[in-house]
Amino acid sequence: MAHLTKGADGLRSVPALLARNAAQYGRSPAYREKEYGIWQSWTWAETAAEVEALALGLLNLGVNEGDFIAIIGRNRPYLYWSMVAAQSVGAIPVPLYQDSVAEEMEYVLSHCGARFVIAGDQEQVDKVIEVQEHLHQFEHMIYLDPRGLRKYDHRRLHQFSHVQEQGRAARDEFTGELNRRRDKLNYDSICVMLYTSGTTGKPKGVVLSNRNIIETARASSEFDHLKPDDEVLAYLPMAWVGDFIFSIGQAYWSGFCVNCPESPETMMTDLREIAPSYYFAPPRVFETQLTQIMIRMEDSGTFKKKTFDHFMAHAGKVGPDLLDGREVGFYDRLKYRLGEFLIYGPLKNALGFSNVRVGYTAGEAIGPEIFDFYRSLGINLKQLYGQTEASVFITQQPDGEVRSDTVGVPSPGVEIRIAEGGEVFYRSPGVFVEYYKNPESTADTKDQEGWVATGDAGFIEEASGHLRIIDRAKDVGAMADGAMFAPKYVENKLKFYPNILEAVVFGAGRDRCCAFINIDLAAVGNWAERNNIAYASYQELAGHKQVLDAIQAHIEETNESIAQDDMLSGCQVHRFLVLHKELDADDGELTRTRKVRRKIIGEKFADLVAALYDGSNSVYTETEVTYEDGRKGKIKATLEIRDAKVVPVTPKAMAAE
């Protein structure tokens, strides 16, 4: 493959980067996966051989240049190789969310007209078979795990390892063709197509070129000084742009190792064993971990609990300063060292964060307490702001300038502009090529000069030059009296309480705000256990009087804090109810990346919204739910609606406005 290695200029595609890595870092690990209880690993040289065998096998199956190959499954080295093998033969990989239901898959598969599907296991194969009649262009499916698939009709179904074997056998016939196709790849060829999760409407296929991915990977790797000996854990959905940039873009650019967990359930154990040096997680993961720590500390003995509280208080005081390299007194340093030995070190070890050099959180706002907790332990957790359309990076926080309320400065090579309405626009080498088969949306989002609308409202802080995001531009509205309404702002404040998993605030065009609350079963369940509160189901716990009391207290606290914000003091929550079911992506209430679909929730629970505003104290409702196997059922409940105390907006604040 030496013909591909033409120095930095020749590195214009992911397969070219793979060839360079195989030559340069041939013997260092590229992939690890825990299987049969042991971490199996593949070096860059082995990876290149595996990818080549698969690419030859794909040629053998008749993959043409420009074909779409859908890839569905959990994070496994084989599926990452599939993406690179697809690129090598001039096809376009389209990773799909593995937890999508069959209809969602049908839409995406028929929209891109995938001729080939590479699926992880029987579950995914079954879903594709279920919808294949409607897919006119679909021809062949390749599967990884043969379990349960022995009896299936294999005319159009092939085992992954067999495809590779056939590829190796046909090496002589196809190597010339493979080299020809690989050599043709350049910065303008399509690297990947990723479907947006679709907060509103149908998902859109975002076409990203090699230029987008490689330029972004280069800039961001340099920004955080990523090296070949870094380790990441690949556990986020493969269909998500972040995973593509981290586990393919940056991994291939920097040559670091991608580790795949044994199964989704063993993620935390695997994280601890690998102890990644570069880590990415959405805020939800950090929240869950913190909640679990706190639950376990509540259950521990008095001495341990007191020691923990004492040193955590100290860490909260000096930890962030130490991390940012600011002056800290000698005594405080010494005490922090002791804490490191007694508490922080073991805690980081238990969390799998011992070696984290750079950690990122993005996708949603993170609670300041949560953010500070991790930073005070000495974990360099930072925020970034990004989008699929930007190949992730729009802004990120440089080391030493980390705050929980901003999302950082523009990433290298990115220009930012705030439009008149407050919407954030950006332009960068990472800006997507187009939405596939959707020129109208492309034109709506990206203008002639390459500026892209983010759909988010925000402003640049003058003092620091950091960007602050307020809310989705579409969601920011006005209440009946004209006051600004930013639901996400309020919801995020509420979600920072461990007891609250999800919140949906209504109020656009109304005279006051009301909210739906979802309790966090782990946190509230543990609390109930400690207080001897018996409950038989989620629904019963959610309707428990003491739970409602606790939630009410949280809301009233939040109201007080909102009241201090001159612009948004009108967004205080006047009435609320605790939902009888968890909001779920299977019911269409959340996106697959777990973002709230405000409009759909408003329509689906219209009766509850009405009850919030008509002053009634309780409401009876029936809700249709979809079980994991696709069957539907109904939940019936009578929900209590409560009033929350609001802080009257002082005339002074009004005058100031």
């Binding site: 209880g37 349960g148 009896k151 199964s263 196997d629």
Partner: protein
Amino acid sequence: MKDTAGYITEDGRQIGGTLMEMRNITLRFGGVVAIQDISFDIREGEVRAIIGPNGAGKSSMLNVISGFYTPSEGEVWYQGKKRPPMKPYQVARQGVARTFQNIALFEGMTVLDNVMTGRLTHMKAGIASQALWWGRASREEVENREKVERVIDFLEIQNIRKTPVGRLPYGLKKRVELARALAAEPSLLLLDEPMAGMNVEEKEDMSRFILDVNDEFGTTICLIEHDMGVVMDLSDRVVVMDYGKKIGDGTPDEVRGNEDVIAAYLGVPHD
């Protein structure tokens, strides 16, 4: 019943010759006749169910197969040979593994260790070697661990590998029991009410695992179960017992249509 030609199931699987044959088995406890003159066979690769109302003698029959009880009269033929009276561990060495109706795991040990005990019949190192952890013992451990890990992977219990069994919920314990039985790489797997006390979802999972075991490893399975839906879906052939007697034997459809069976057990068929 002497033929070894086998048959082909509805879903197209080839079932082999006779693996085990019970000939005129009678089992008495003092004056109580638990099993009365029952004959049936289990063929290689099939899923064979034994059903019947409470106290019909199903578990006794399974205990006869596993060697826990020695029949008062009759013969057990296994792999073409008449089986002399044997201890259960000797039967286990011949490739018969089982799970229990009331879970019988080591509660204080981890899942991994419990499943490893399933490999005991395959371990040959002596006490000295085991104690010193030297030579054969450590080599064997590695080999056995690999087999066990494949079973753990197969039954998707990686996440509880190191969890003590006592902390697991019931449904998972059942799965660990199955894992231990599978680790023995049995040619005949006996399942005593594998779905008892499970909710619908757990039952579905367990059914899938049983079918997958049969499909992937070609293991012959003999199971006792109360849930009729499960039995009829899973098994290739069904033996029906009532008061220690065999009152039916055949495919699920044949058994469903058998009037004795309906009267004794299934009750009046719906619509």
